[in-house]
């Protein structure tokens, strides 16, 4: 591989890794607070992409009704992002209300909640399939693709947006969790769920807040993903969700830095394996590497071993 291809693949890996990182952040937030693996998260990402599709086509006036005014595409894009994040956060909170909270109230074990999460994911996938059919949707091109070429390496404006958004999200979440009161409450719940309510902290509010954060990040990932890969289908979230979960585990689940680093690590491994070997071996080799890594450091890169009470 010559130096130009190498840098081009670094660029490619940054985009691909960004999506893993954004989705992994959602897994890690919920796990960090509830010690719950929210397997429906990949499908919330899918729901985010679809909501983004409907909001964008609605604002463009190509879906349902014709709006009486025209907006510039950039405004539509920003509005799509914001509205999609709000609506998807609503989906995430509803999921928590309907599926997880009743079980938690009844004192069901974590295993049951994880199984419920798996089922919720399948319901989202197949509900979408039943509602919208199997035909693919094309995400409208809101930001016109501009290709930049610097020293033989190409990237697009969309690429810049994706990478910057991922960095911004990372800094934003780090600040919230480390520097704010609600962040402290989140960490406290993760530390001891029994003692926290005794301090007068409304535990359900904190949990809802966590789901809002995680789901809106998934929505952000969904809209950015759909702009970069504009073909939507109901099962688009399943595989990428599982892989992002693995990225979160490798980074050390529960750690925001871990999800970030793990996502990019997985992106880099996947792109470089496909660049060097036939891509059929991609998943085989990349997950082989991760498996070996985990067997040496089972808690992941930033993870800390903690005593589990079962």
């Amino acid at each position: 591989m010559d130096i130009q291809s190498f840098f081009q693949n670094v660029i490619n890996a940054f985009q691909w890794g960004s999506f893993y990182a954004l989705i992994a952040l959602g897994y890690t937030l919920v796990y960090g607070v509830l010690l719950l693996i929210n397997f429906a998260h990949g499908d919330i990402f899918m729901v985010g992409a679809y909501i983004g599709f409907f909001v964008a086509t609605f604002l463009l006036g190509t879906y349902a009704i014709h709006l009486p005014f025209h907006m510039p595409h950039l405004v539509i894009f920003v509005a799509t992002l914001v509205i999609t994040m709000i609506l998807t956060a609503g989906v995430g909170v509803t999921l928590e209300r309907v599926a997880y909270r009743p079980l938690r109230r009844k004192g069901a074990g974590r295993l049951y909640i994880v199984i419920t999460a798996l089922m919720a994911g399948l319901i989202l996938e197949n509900g979408n399939l039943a509602l919208l059919g199997a035909s693919r949707k094309a995400f409208p091109e809101l930001i016109h693709d501009t290709v930049y070429k610097v020293a033989g390496v190409t990237f697009t404006n969309n690429w810049i947006l994706v990478v910057l958004a991922t960095l911004a999200v990372f800094l934003f979440l780090e600040t919230i969790v480390r520097k704010t009161k609600i962040g402290m409450a989140m960490r406290a719940i993760s530390f001891d769920r029994m003692a926290v309510p005794l301090m007068g902290i409304p535990i359900d509010t904190v949990i809802v807040f966590t789901f809002i954060l995680g789901s809106s990040m998934a929505a952000l990932a969904g809209v950015l993903f759909a702009s970069a890969y504009p073909v939507l289908e109901p099962y688009m979230g399943a595989m990428i969700g599982w892989k992002a979960f693995i990225a979160a585990v490798v980074g050390g689940i529960g750690e925001i830095r871990g999800a970030f680093v793990g996502g990019f690590l997985l992106g880099f491994i996947e792109i470089f394996v496909a660049a060097v070997f036939p891509s059929t071996f991609r998943d085989l080799i990349s997950f082989g590497i991760l498996l070996v890594f985990l067997s040496f450091k089972p808690t992941g890169i930033f993870g800390v071993a903690r005593a589990q009470k079962i």
Binding site: D2, V147, K149, I240, F272, S279
Partner: protein, 394 residues
Amino acid sequence: MRKCLWLVVLCLAAALAVSPAMAAKQEPIKIGFNIPLTGDIPKVGEGSKFAAEMLKEKIDKEGGLKVGNKTYPVEFIYEDNESKAESATAAAIKLITQDMVLGIIGPQASKQAIPAGEINNSYKTPMISAWSTNPQTTKDRPYVFRACFLDPFQGPVAADFVTEQFHAKKAAVLYDIASDYPKGLAEYFKAAFEKLHGPGSVVAFETFTTKDRDFSAQLTKIVKSGADVLFTPQYYDEVPLIVKQAHELGWKKPIMGSDSWGSAELMNLCGNDCKGLFFSTHYAAAGAKGATKEFIDAYQKKYGYVPDDVAALTWDATRLMLKAIQNTGGLTGNVEKDREAIRNQLANIKDFDGITGKMSFDYAKNGGDPSKCAVVVKINDKGEFEFFKSVCPH
């Protein structure tokens, strides 16, 4: 009383005088159609039936089909196979043993054509499937033919086309290794291209697996490989992603595809990125010329929509069958002997001028598969699939 008798005699005489001419016309040539009028793919059955009805009208207007020195009326019998394999075999048996047809058109899909072909072969009745591309349909069955080309044929077609059109000396291929159709086609293309330009002329032979969304690593290699053209025999939901990412990575050279691109959905998903690209297929409605255009216009006028490839191929298949009947030089009236004669003619039809391209059969060499030209389609600026060129095998 006497007047009455005279009338009867007159009537009888008149009947006798007319009857020799009538007798010749009362024996119609019967062709069966084993098509899915209901079931999963009723649109395929509808298109087939409409095309056949149009052909029958045309023949009726000409007064019938001339075979040898006699003119026969034609009768088309439509049997619904419900798009099921077992109904297709039942329909074939009914057409052969009860309706005593001379030949059968269909079934169209390989799922029904393979079992029905077995029935036709054992009853020694010629059959032409218009649409089935699976090699099994005609394999080792001397009575079974088809009117379309097989999948492997598109590989050489694409290789010839890019060599002639773009003067390509080096080619790149990107395909899904986990799916039969793209994998087969990619390998056939590679073999054909390397035969033309020497080993190693396919400079990048890159793969991915079904459901992949990011092809940047593979496309980076392809862009760097210095290939003159990219061949990607993928389905319409992957093509937009491949094409978009290729353009983003700086690929400005031509991209070529196969008939799996030919879905109306492609342009909904792909938009501007796919305009100006090429793919090979059976038939193109936009920009058609000559007899093909006449067929499309007549069909659209009569039924209100542009005919798809099944309708066009059914038209050709039925005309092939009638041509073979004409080539026998005269029918004996003995159904079994006539079927045999028709089959022998069908096996050696040369340069048949179909609306989906010129076809020749050579049973000794190719079995029941025609050697025919493929159509290369260009996606024009309006996003229509426009006829660009016809590419024929050597």
